[in-house]
């Protein structure tokens, strides 16, 4: 109760508030016959599950097709691979002092690889692992186009008003894991870059919902960097990888929702009418999101390359591989050669996927082993930038909870995938 200048203010109960709303509405709103327009009818169709789900399937198909062709076919394969592999790498290999076997050369340009016991230079920037080769190719040759394609379609869907309808459609499903329809926004944003995704969890009401969302994003949502490289190296496995991640997202979300105490309240969603997209809005959103990705993620890619290179040079990677190797090989069913990239994936998941793709091409790993390794890379330890943001957005207790969930999920889910592979006879 508040007393101000002799007036006693008593807070209204929920029922009293609704009564008040009804009284105000009666006095201010005129009711009459309203003829639905074609736009209204289409808007209705896209939120009703029976018609809305097929439409969502078509929209997601368009989303994915555009992403693959824009980022993969047109820019990365069409131009960037040529620029980096046919011009940039050979030029650096010819002018950088030291040459193959020199520590600084290995760190900055090309570590090379052994063929029949002989150290040979790499012929592509994925395998060179240098700060100036892989470190630049990954963000500018692959990831930038993936992020650009992703955010372009995302901004378009946001601007025409489809995204809130998608939120209404998935609301029932997301309630099963303690979230609500608007959780689709951080989830989709994370598919571009986890950093804005984690920041977008602020749209959720309670600490429980934010904890659930951040944990699920950190574990099950691969970022544009990873998706771009996965699409480039293992396009035939993409469908299965996403299916496995979606099952994990919903399954572990359901379990976490049961374990974590706290509230998951209902919300009323505002669904705006469909509108023509404004080019200016789309361009502005695209610029803000892409520039944020470039500023936050690129330094981490370069730093990751440098640290991974140093770990290989100092023998730290071999030591870690020998210590963790037996556990990873037995539990996840991956070959010895995959252990080092899996460990390197703690620093740069995208680079690790690149190395795994190379191992598959050389016949060292089977399709199933690559599939298991790529899923593992997706679900374990978020990238350093996301990790730093999680620390900022969560309190210590929640942060440790997220990390504990992550460790449990990696071992349980990774083990389950291996078990399924064994039962199917493909592992």
């Amino acid at each position: 109760m508040q007393v101000k200048k002799g007036v006693v203010k008593v807070p209204l109960s929920v029922d009293e508030r609704w009564d008040l709303i009804e009284k105000i509405t009666k006095q201010t709103v005129e009711f009459g016959a309203y003829k639905h327009t074609l736009k209204d009818a289409i808007a209705e169709l896209t939120v009703k599950p029976l018609t809305g789900i097929p439409v969502a399937i078509a929209v997601l198909y368009g989303f994915w097709s555009f992403f693959c062709d824009f980022a993969g076919t047109l820019f990365t394969d069409g131009f960037m691979v040529k620029i980096f592999d046919e011009h940039w790498l050979p030029w650096l290999q010819s002018v950088f002092p030291g040459g193959l076997g020199d520590p600084l050369y290995a760190l900055m340009v090309d570590a090379g690889h052994l063929e029949n016991g002989v150290l040979v230079p790499s012929d592509n920037c994925f395998e060179a692992f240098g700060v100036l080769t892989s470190g630049l190719f990954v963000p500018f040759g692959v990831v930038l186009w993936a992020v650009l394609a992703f955010y372009l379609v995302f901004a378009f869907l946001e601007d025409i008003g489809y995204l809130p309808r998608l939120a209404v459609l998935v609301d029932t499903v997301l309630h099963k894991i303690g979230l609500h329809g608007y959780a689709i926004v951080p989830t989709f944003l994370s598919l571009g870059c986890n950093v804005p995704g984690v920041m977008a969890t602020r749209v959720l009401e309670t600490r429980k919902q934010r904890f659930l969302m951040i944990t699920l994003l950190g574990i099950f949502i691969p970022c544009g960097a990873q998706i771009g490289i996965m699409q480039d190296l293992v396009p035939e496995l993409m469908g299965w990888i996403f299916l496995t991640l979606a099952i994990g997202y919903l399954g572990f979300g359901y379990i976490l929702n049961k374990i974590v105490p706290g509230e998951s309240p209902e919300i009323i969603m505002d669904v705006p009418p469909y509108r023509m997209p404004a080019l200016r809005n789309i361009a502005r959103k695209l610029w803000i999101r892409t520039s944020r990705f470039l500023l936050v993620a690129v330094p981490f890619v370069l730093l990751g390359c440098l640290i991974v290179g140093l770990m290989y040079l100092t023998g730290a990677m071999d030591w870690l591989a020998s210590v963790l190797g037996p556990l990873l090989m037995v539990w996840f069913g991956v070959p010895k050669e995959a252990v080092a990239p899996l460990i390197a994936g703690f620093l740069r998941k995208d680079l690790a996927v690149g190395v795994l793709g190379g191992l598959m091409e050389r016949g060292v790993m089977t399709h199933f082993q690559v599939f298991t390794s790529v899923v593992l890379l997706s679900i374990y330890f978020p990238c350093l930038a996301t990790f730093a943001l999680m620390l900022k957005e969560e309190n210590w207790k929640e942060f440790l909870g997220s990390l504990a969930s992550l460790v449990v999920v990696v071992f349980v889910y990774g083990g389950l995938i291996h078990l399924v592979g064994l039962m199917l006879g493909v592992a």
């Binding site: 009818a41 209705e44 097929p54 097709s65 824009f70 076919t73 040529k82 469908g239």
Partner: protein, 151 residues
């Protein structure tokens, strides 16, 4: 929309819906065997084998949308179903065209494709949605008619 236009719409979209259903069923069956190419009709799964069943589900939905719209076709909610079905075809066919554009610009060995290579990228075979695309555009006439009625 007058009675003749409504009648025409009912017959036209019944046929288009049936064709879409048939194409969808064919793609679904084809997806079990990894896809097929028959003359100028292409039902292969491109790079990802999941693309084919995904497309089949969309085509089947398009067929059902068209067929469910024909009863009382002039009513706005019914017309909206046919509009939505056409939009779904535009999305899938539009992406098939975009795939060709994206692959026609860069060359195999050179920076840009040769004129012959560029033109060859647009040659048949085409996916079923590309064949449905021109026929689905008839809905634009009905949208304009409906807009006139709204004014």
């Amino acid at each position: 929309m007058n009675e003749a236009e409504e009648k025409f719409g009912q017959v036209y979209f019944t046929i288009l819906g049936a064709v879409a259903l048939a194409f969808g069923a064919a793609e679904l069956i084809a997806s079990a065997g990894g896809g097929f190419t028959w003359g100028i009709l292409d039902s292969s799964g491109a790079t990802d084998p999941l693309f084919l069943p995904w497309r089949a589900i969309i085509l089947l939905s398009v067929g059902f949308f068209y067929l469910s719209s024909v009863k009382d076709f002039a009513e706005v909610h019914q017309l909206a179903k046919a509009v939505m079905a056409s939009i779904m075809i535009w999305i899938v066919a539009g992406m098939a065209i975009w795939t060709r554009i994206a692959s026609s610009i860069p060359g195999e060995e050179t920076w840009f494709n040769s004129l012959e290579g560029f033109l060859a990228s647009y040659a048949p075979p085409y996916c079923p949605e590309m064949f449905l695309l021109p026929f689905s555009l008839v809905i634009v006439y009905y949208i304009m008619k409906e807009k006139e009625g709204e004014k």
